[in-house]
Amino acid sequence: MIVIRPFCIVALAFLWGFGHSPSQASPQQAQKAPPGNVQESPAAKLTPDDLAMGKQFFAAQCAGCHGFDGSGQLGPNLHGVAQRKGDQAIFGIIRNGTGGMPGVNSLNDKRVWQVIGYVRTLGDSGAAEAAKGDPVKGKAVYDANGCALCHSINGQGGGIGPQLTAIGRSRAPKYLHDFLLDPGKNPPADMSLPERGANTGYLLVHVVTKDGRDMTGIRVNEDTYTLVLKDVSGHFYSFDKSNLKTIENQPGKSVMPSYSNLSATDLDDLVAYLASLKGAQ
């Protein structure tokens, strides 16, 4: 008998990731909490059996978004997260949620600590591969290719795509590499509005109105009766569906171009630069 909430967690948890903005962090992240010291937290008292249980809980509840090895898929890479943020802060995130991740209220405290203990065992870099390129050169690639027209880093840049200030915390290098080659294949969730978080992020939609106008834009939100799109200039277009002749979702496509034209070296450097962005949260 599983009812509503738990399974919304599955669906919603998929959504936390690329577009997650630091400013959306919930208060329960306990940003002021001191860095974790395992000796001071209940995680210090965990036995090997507890850690094995934590692994099971993690596989069952967390791996869908964070990957079975915790290196991140649609959710952030968790390697080292407990060490950086502190056990209590992670406890707060699990219990209360953050960004697009809802709180988990179906594990009691002991089980949450078992999960935290397991996450600690993943280490700081763990199985996540290190970026191969040169981040300094990668910044030049970033600048030369106009990425800042749509993305911002430390407050500089456009707002069409996700902010990248801390993208290195939430995305593994491999994801970044693959994404740059085919941005439409595995689009991130756009968590800046709940309506966006409930659906595929940055979905391109082509509409034709009954009076013959057409446009293609990024879906901002949609329900049974309305659709809001955004163009690459950031203008919003609000449609009453009763006025639309056709609505064509275009999954697999992205307003962001593929960077398959970059040399392998430039691509590695760009990935290394992005992976190095771990701005303050």
């Binding site: 008998m1 599983i2 009812v3 509503i4 909430r5 738990p6 399974f7 967690i9 599955v10 669906a11 998929f14 959504l15 099971q56 809980f57 596989a59 069952a60 509840q61 869908g64 988990v104 209220n105 179906s106 594990l107 009691n108 405290d109 089980r111 309506e195 409930a198 659906n199 595929t200 979905l203 939100n221 949609e222 329900d223 049974t224 009766y225 979702n249 999954p251």
Partner: protein, 539 residues
């Protein structure tokens, strides 16, 4: 002169305030005769969620507007289905709080907050509450930590408090109890926690337990034990977590049961696993099982059969029949004879890829296990873990003969886990002791209001929504069906045709069942969105 004015003032005051009258069993039994009130969770004993009110019609529904709103005192999402008794509305708020409101204005009359241990975290379900029951002068509330509490309906004073189950064994309750003749019937949740399902019946006057019937064997000699290999009935399951129905003439209680434990991995519990994922009919006086019908034998996808059973009478093949219909979480619609449990007909009402169909007795003809059984890598199957429908209620109109269901077309990758289970010690919500799944996202899920011919399941019309809706349905004598989409658009459809007539965005998801009532001759429609209860009427 002054005295006369004072008397007039008092009289005016008396007329202005709601006055609770006794809700006898006879009133409950004849609830259809007083459509101004909504006296029990399902609207009537048949759980039809049909309102006899007809002020609001397809012609004027476009004029509906918000009459008043009530915001919950605490956080969370309201899932309560209100009761309305003679101008007083009873709603529940998470986790197990009860509030009485003036149904004319929404002003609170009293509020009750039971003591729930702060460290109690139910497994596999969200700590909420979906409603209460009324009988005579009391309101009955089942709490998340497994208490049944009777309160004075006028004042909110607690009259008695009985323990239904132990939260330490994984039990938790979110449902509204069912009040019958002098008795309060209530089930339990906790299927992901290894709880052993049962149905309890308490004396309405003093809270004394009258009977308790388990839905799964408790020993090798119990009925159904031979359907659990190697004594695996000890795993538990078969919880009774949603409110059932009642036939006063037959004196039978009908209740759906949940999954066997552990879910998603049936290797350790070979067999049909009776009486899980079944409809059970119990004698209301003794709790003795008169019949059962198992929808999903040896279930491994979390397709509980807890969906409300709707009771109605109709002619089938020229013969008048007493029927029970259920839109099951496994995506099939079933019609049973509620006297005997005989299967009459069934067909899918939502997309499904696990069964070729149903045989003559209603047993599913499944596709090969490698196509449908949970696996380590994940097996894609329709419907999803949340099912073609979940806990929200369908409705039935005796005027149209249609069964209206908010149906979900969605899938999940079903993942197999460890086949271990111990009461109160689940492997988490998704793991649930045995695995879990990754569900289709909102863009991959479509919700529909589907109108089915109640006697056959044949689809008459459907109305498409965007996203994954979690709202029940209400049908009225005025010819309207009410529900909501995933974004929180509350809407009215023509009950005959499905034509959309009106909608209003309520600003948050609607996770409850709409109801209707009238005060002073004015019809109201009620549903909640987020933490707010909205009441609609014509201007």
């Amino acid at each position: 002169m002054r005295t006369a004015r004072y008397v007039v003032f008092l009289l005016a005051l008396c007329f202005a305030l709601p006055s609770f009258a006794q809700v006898s069993y006879e009133r409950l039994r004849n609830s259809d005769s007083e459509p101004n009130n909504w006296l029990m969770y399902g609207g009537n004993y048949g759980s039809q969620r049909f309102s006899g009110l007809k002020e609001i019609t397809p012609k004027n529904a476009a004029s509906l507007r918000v009459a008043w709103a009530y915001q919950m005192r605490g956080g969370g999402v309201m899932e309560s289905s209100p009761l309305i008794v003679d101008g007083i509305m009873y709603i529940t708020e998470p986790p197990s709080n009860l509030t009485a409101l003036d149904a004319r204005t929404g002003k609170p009359l009293w509020h009750y907050v039971p003591v729930v241990p702060r460290d109690f975290v139910p497994i596999g379900l969200f700590p909420t509450n979906r409603g209460v029951a009324v009988l005579d002068d009391k309101v009955y509330l089942a709490t998340i930590d497994d208490h049944l509490i009777a309160l004075d309906a006028k004042s909110g004073v607690v009259r008695w408090n009985s323990v239904i189950a132990s939260k330490d064994e994984g039990y938790a309750i979110t449902q509204a109890p069912l009040a019958i003749n002098g008795k309060i019937v209530v089930g339990v949740g906790g299927g992901e926690a290894g709880a052993h399902g049962f149905l309890s019946c308490f004396d309405a006057k003093d809270g004394k337990l009258l009977w308790q019937t388990y839905t799964v064997p408790r020993s090798d000699s119990d009925p159904g034990a031979d359907t659990w290999a190697n004594g695996s009935w000890s795993n538990g399951g078969g919880t009774t977590w949603n409110t059932g129905s009642y036939d006063p003439e037959l004196n039978l209680i009908y209740w759906g049961t949940g999954n066997p434990a552990p879910d998603w991995n049936g290797e350790g519990r070979m067999g049909d696993n009776l009486f899980t994922c079944s409809m059970i009919a119990l004698d209301a006086d003794t709790g003795k099982m008169k019949w059962y019908f198992q929808f999903t034998p040896h279930e491994t996808h979390d397709w509980d059969a807890a969906e409300p059973p709707i009771l109605f009478d109709a002619t089938v093949n020229g013969k008048p029949r007493k029927l029970l219909a259920q839109a099951n979480r496994n995506a099939f619609y079933y019609v049973l004879d509620r006297v005997t449990g005989e299967f009459i007909t069934g067909m899918p009402f939502a997309k499904q890829t696990w069964a070729k169909g149903l045989d003559a007795k209603g047993r599913p003809i499944t596709f090969p296990p490698e196509q449908i059984e949970p696996s380590v890598a994940g097996t894609l199957v329709y419907p999803s873990l949340t099912g073609g429908i979940n806990w929200t209620s369908p409705c039935y109109s005796p005027l149209t003969g249609l069964f209206y269901v908010n149906a979900r077309d969605g899938f999940a990758y079903y993942i197999k886990g460890e086949p271990k289970m111990a009461p109160g010690n689940s492997v988490g919500i998704i793991g649930g002791g045995g695995g879990g799944g990754r569900m289709s996202g909102p863009d991959e899920t479509t919700s529909w209001i589907r109108a089915l011919v109640a006697t056959t399941g044949e689809k008459k019309w459907e109305y498409k929504m965007v996203g994954d809706s979690w709202t029940g349905t209400l049908v009225t004598a005025g010819g309207l069906v009410f529900s909501a989409d995933a974004a929180g658009n509350f809407f009215a459809l023509n009950a005959d045709t499905g034509e959309p007539l009106w909608h209003l965005l309520l600003g948050s998801s609607v996770r409850s069942n709409p109801v209707s009532y009238a005060v002073d001759g004015k019809q109201y429609i009620v549903d909640s969105a987020g933490n707010t209860l909205f009441v609609f009427s014509l201007p």
